[in-house]
């Protein structure tokens, strides 16, 4: 069990601070999560602003932003997963010298674990859209639902891979031509024409010109 300090509110408790050991605070984990959460909220706020504008931005800009957000989400979940053990066993509690009477409201807000109504609504929405009734569904049902969701994703990926393999992305022949037997280019780029293709001069142009201007045929 590790000790978790109260976030420093700057209230004058100078003397008693020296008695506490803050070395077991999982600062690294918290900081990592905090940073990733900050990035994510920043990106999401930006996207929200963009969508609220009168002129919608270009699709590729939106797509890029969504991409970034997904990456950041990914990064956040893997960070949390990485520090799972640490964070799971972290408990926050106020130190004895916290002025509970003066700042009771602050304390309850900081330590509150219940979701704000807005969040509850989102979670309920998500549960509704999943099509599963959390209350009546068994553990098995939920697992099945999750698995079928994963399978859908897997199917989509496989389909993409399949389609991708139907096309040729390099060289000068289409996939159809290649399967019909066209030899694939060994190189993608043009090569300089070999010098055997250069025309030769069969006669001196000046001699011919002289003939046609002066009639001096040999």
């Amino acid at each position: 069990m590790s000790q978790g300090p109260v976030p420093d509110t700057g209230v004058g408790v100078a003397d008693s601070q020296a008695d506490y050991d803050f070395s077991h605070v999982p600062a690294q984990a918290l900081d990592a999560v905090r940073m990733r959460l900050a990035q994510l909220t920043h990106s999401q706020a930006k996207l929200k602003d963009e969508m609220a504008r009168a002129d919608l931005p270009q699709w590729h800009s939106l797509q890029a932003q969504v991409s970034i957000i997904l990456t950041q989400l990914q990064s956040l979940t893997s960070t949390i997963h990485h520090f799972e053990e640490t964070l799971d066993s972290t408990v926050v509690y106020p130190l004895a010298n916290f002025p509970t009477t003066a700042h009771e409201g602050l304390l309850t807000t900081l330590l509150r674990k219940k979701n704000i109504p807005e969040v509850d609504e989102w979670i309920n929405d998500a549960k509704e859209t999943s099509g599963i009734d959390i209350n009546t569904a068994s553990h098995e049902d939920i697992k099945t639902a999750l698995r079928s969701d994963e399978e859908l994703t897997k199917w989509a990926l496989d389909f993409l891979k399949q389609e991708h393999s139907n096309y040729s992305y390099h060289g000068f022949y289409t996939a159809r031509e290649l399967s019909a037997g066209a030899s694939p280019d060994t190189q993608d780029t043009y090569q300089r024409a070999p010098s055997s293709k250069k025309p030769k001069k069969p006669f001196d142009a000046n001699n011919v010109l002289k003939m046609i201007h002066q009639g001096t045929f040999s």
């Binding site: 000046n206 001699n207 011919v208 046609i212 045929f217």
Partner: protein
């Protein structure tokens, strides 16, 4: 008087197909086949001709060039086959399909064009026989060590008809003081390279006692040129030069277009004065 800017080269018969394909792609169009007959005339050698005119200015004796299109139907009757591939048949001295008598008739008696359609031309019937020729005299190209292209002045007019008793262009020109010197036949293809640049590939035969003899055996004469209407139009001369040089650059490494020797493009008589 107009100016013709030009660069020349030559290619061998074996390189013809690739060259046509390359240039067709460069300019975006296939070439046009053409044919012409040229008669060069010189001042009557029996005449004792002054070297100066009435104002005491020195005047060079020039050859006169008479030129007209060849009826290509004679050479290839099938319209569909009359494209650049036609020239691949003409690697030797013979010019198959061409009746040389037609040519002599054109020179020595004005032949009625109702019977003969010259490619690209339209026959305007009406008053008398049509005897259409281009008549021109060209100067020796200008000199200069810093030249990038050849510049040649050409003075030209069109003869529409000949008249009188037994009308013929040759009999008129003999009254003018000019007699036949030599005759040439040209078969070729012409590319319109855009911005006023044309590129011609030609095979040329000399006519000699009823026989034809090819002077371009083994290949083709290549000529890239720009025609500038007014010899005083510096702007057009400069832009024409730029366009020609751009083509030269584009083709360099493949075919090298070069400035022709100006002495080879001098049609004056016997180069008595090396001006």
């Amino acid at each position: 008087m107009m100016l013709q800017l030009s660069l020349v080269s030559s290619i061998d018969d074996a390189s013809y197909d690739l060259f046509v394909s390359t240039l067709s792609n460069l300019c975006g169009n296939p070439p046009v086949v053409f044919g012409n007959f040229t008669a060069m005339l010189k001042p009557n050698p029996a005449f004792d001709i002054e070297q100066v005119n009435s104002k005491n200015q020195l005047v060079e004796q020039s050859r006169i060039k008479l030129c007209r299109g060849l009826p290509l139907q004679e050479v290839e009757a099938d319209n569909a086959k009359r494209d650049f591939r036609l020239l691949k048949k003409y690697q030797n001295d013979e010019v198959q399909g061409l009746d040389l008598q037609i040519i002599q008739d054109m020179l020595h008696g004005s032949r009625d064009l109702d019977e003969m359609e010259v490619d690209g031309g339209s026959n305007k019937g009406g008053s008398g026989a049509q005897d259409v020729w281009s008549l021109s005299i060209s100067d020796i190209p200008t000199a200069g060590s810093g030249r990038k292209v050849s510049t040649q002045a050409i003075t030209e007019t069109t003869v529409l008809a000949s008249g009188g008793s037994s009308p013929s262009i040759v009999s008129f020109l003999s009254e003018l003081g000019y007699v036949l010197d030599f005759q040439l036949l040209v078969l070729g293809i012409k590319f319109n390279m855009n911005n006023g640049v044309f590129l011609e590939l030609s095979k040329i035969w000399r006519l000699n006692d009823g026989r034809t003899e090819q002077i371009t055996k083994g290949g083709f004469l290549v000529k890239a040129f720009v025609n500038v209407a007014k010899s005083t139009d510096i702007k057009s001369i400069n832009s024409g030069t730029t366009s020609l040089l751009a083509l030269q650059k584009e083709l360099s490494g493949y075919v090298e277009l070069e400035i022709p020797d100006r002495k080879s493009m001098d049609s004056r008589l016997e180069n008595k004065n090396d001006i």
